[in-house]
């Protein structure tokens, strides 16, 4: 592979090839394994968590701030990672919180990615005032710090998972648009696209069948990085109290709710959700790093 220079993305079909590719680097293997585990736990959360942390009826104020390993006051449950100030099981809170993190992370990155990519390629293909208009809009969007824009949007939209995804899509699409445009401009200068154009193929076909697939490598890398970024951004927003509803806490909100107790010895409310968040973000970043190397021939010399 290393001796064939500019190649379209590696087309892999057989599971064995996939596996070989994943295990090629230990970081990639670890990242994928952890992410699979996290996704599995998040999907199975309602089955494996001892408590439904979003059902107020299953919480009890008699069980507030219990240390890890405590029994509930009626002896029915044992709290492996302790409870928070509302009697919520931290383990269950983490499992359900991971669902929110992953939904927000992947949801917003994929939607923003789809919108940004199409907009960016369209700008590159048509050029002229279309490109100028779109790219100035992108410049405008990127000149504001993401967290600030998201904060303002959520203050306006109100709390909730759907609104967090919407806010993150709005702050993230521009990055994809810029990357997609530059990748498309490179491809547009190549002969196969000139050939496609002179063959009078329909524009839609040129864009989606010829241009888009060849622009994907940098976008896939960006996507993975943005998933990790969106997960931490959601946690930040929830930590600041504008993310999800207080009755349905995500990891960021759990961390925030235990934050004030850290110095008084009640460490578990913040520590465990914090570890879960860090592990998830690091796993996604490990995969992103590997993809960056794997999909960029220049880095594989």
């Amino acid at each position: 592979m290393s001796d064939q220079t500019p190649v379209p993305p590696i087309v892999v079909s057989r599971p064995a090839v996939w596996l070989a590719w994943i295990t090629e680097s230990p970081a990639m293997a670890a990242g994928s394994a952890i992410l699979m585990l996290v996704i599995g736990m998040a999907i199975l959360a309602p089955l494996i968590s001892p408590q439904d942390p979003y059902d107020l009826l299953s919480l009890s104020l008699f069980d507030t701030k219990l240390p890890p390993g405590s029994q509930s006051y009626d002896g029915s449950t044992s709290y492996l990672l302790g409870t928070d100030g509302q009697g919520r099981d931290i383990l269950s809170g983490i499992l359900y919180g991971l669902r929110i993190s992953l939904i927000v992370g992947f949801g917003s990155a994929l939607i923003a990615g789809a919108i940004g990519t199409i907009v960016g390629i369209v700008a590159a293909y048509f050029g002229g005032w279309v490109e100028a208009l779109i790219m100035r809009l992108v410049d405008l969007q990127l000149s504001f710090p993401a967290i600030l824009v998201a904060l303002m949007l959520l203050a306006f939209l109100g709390k909730g998972v759907g609104n967090v995804v919407l806010a993150l899509v709005i702050v993230e699409w521009a990055g994809y648009a810029r990357t997609a445009r530059s990748a498309a401009l490179v491809e547009l200068g190549k002969d196969y696209l000139t050939a496609a154009k002179v063959s009078l193929l329909p524009v839609r076909r040129i864009i989606f069948v010829h241009l888009l697939p060849n622009c994907l490598p940098p976008l896939i890398v960006l996507l993975t990085i943005q998933v990790a970024r969106a997960i931490s951004l959601e946690a930040t927003l929830s930590f600041l109290g504008v993310g999800v509803k207080a009755t349905e806490p995500s990891l960021g909100m759990l961390i925030a709710s235990g934050f004030s107790y850290i110095l008084s010895g009640t460490y578990w409310i913040t520590l465990f959700p914090g570890i879960a968040l860090v592990v998830t973000v690091v796993a996604v970043n490990l995969i992103g790093d590997h993809l960056r190397v794997a999909l960029n021939p220049k880095l594989r010399a």
């Binding site: 009826l57 104020l61 008699f62 509302q86 009755t247």
Partner: protein, 522 residues
Amino acid sequence: MKTKRILATATCAAFFASTATGLWAQDLTIGRLTEQSSIDPHFNNAGNDQPSKHMTFESLVTPNSKFEIVPELAESWENVDPNTWIVHLRKDVKFHNGDRLTAADVVFSLDRSVNVPNSPSSYFRLRGDITVEAVDDLTVKIVTKEPWPAAIESVGRIPIVNKAVAESATTEDFNAGKAAIGTGPYKFVSWARGDNVKFERFDDYWGGLPEWEHVTMRFIPNEASRVAALLSGDVDFIDGVSPNDIDRINGSGSAKVWSVPTVRIVYLQFDQRDRESPFVKDKSGKLLNPNPLMDSRVRLALSKLVDRQLLVDRVAGGGEPASQLVQAGICGYNPDIPEAERDVEGAKALLTEAGYPDGFAITIHSSNDRFAKDADVALAVAQMWAQGGIQIDDVNALAFANFTANATKGEYSVMEYSYAGTFPSAEDYLKSMLGTYDADRGIGGVNRGRYSSAKFDEALGKSLLAFDRDEKCALMSEAMKIGMEETGVLPLYFLQSNWATAGNVSFEPAINDDWDIRYIHP
């Protein structure tokens, strides 16, 4: 081991030496949450100015740590007719510059207190509409426009300055120390903005030799830093101790927390405007009409679902469960109002009777930065209501500024608030929290739910007119009973305030939440 014993002996020796000479010669360093806005005692009538103000300046009367009004510069007063008060001043009072206190200083001070340029919060509310004159050197006559039974408790709390010094002084002259001449136990030394303010003992103080020789107040707004300063021995006393830190401080062995349930009550207000309330819905999400919160049975049911003791023990970090708006011992408290107990079955029966056998859906709004655990308490109430069949759509905790702006506009249905009266009486509470909203008459000032009951208003009106104190208290406790029977608001608990001292310093916790140098003892 040996060093310890030597140290102990040395400490004992020092102790006996100091008692033997009768001179404590002790210095006190305080770690304060807030910084005063000015040294001019009339500049800002706000809580953050209080600790330093009362070092240097005194007033005719003052609240003590039990929130009782006691004489300070006034020796006695009499009410010659409903509109006229004669106040006799103490004879032996000296200002820091050696001048004697005279009636002219009092007249000047009461007039100056509402005429300070750029004052963010003037003493206008305390002074009211009065005329003041000096009868002789030690007698002051105060004439009110209307009969005002609480005139002394109110006007009497305005700080007294030295006329000769303050007449030509500006607020800046006070801040620089030039005009900071009062009658208080400590003389002003210096104020380094953002860092500290220093005082020293006033040897000629009329109340006897003050207990501390030098007092330094350091401004440490950060909670963790304040606790750290106390535990490391940098300061001897801190205010604004969070419930989270109580165990840590008490467990340190070198410091101690002093707590008291204050007169500040934490309570829920219900939107009782006659319309659809924005956050009261049926379980399918449709706004309910009529608004169930208009029905006193529904409000009582919501009250019965709350376990106040559990809230205090497990969530609020201390406090005293509240079944009415003031604590026992305060004028207007009604001993006949039963303690509110949790009764889920009773609540469900009331909801069924009111036509909501399956409950309804609601969102609670609260602040998240106004008092300790405000957001947590709102969540815990939601949990208790959910157990009674109320569907909780959301618990929304916002920054106080946003929260209160929207709440005042009537945009919420259930609001968690706290309130503390200025006087040791239920009057403020009844008038502001439960009286039918009437901006012109100054009634219902914080009645954001617009509770309005003719029966309550009548009882309140009677109590406001009463002049005799005992009669007034009895009438107020009548009004209290009506307001609580109708659950005009839902009292939750009296907020606990915490302070901490290091070493052998002791403290009398103040139930009105203002601390004073007079409560801190070696």
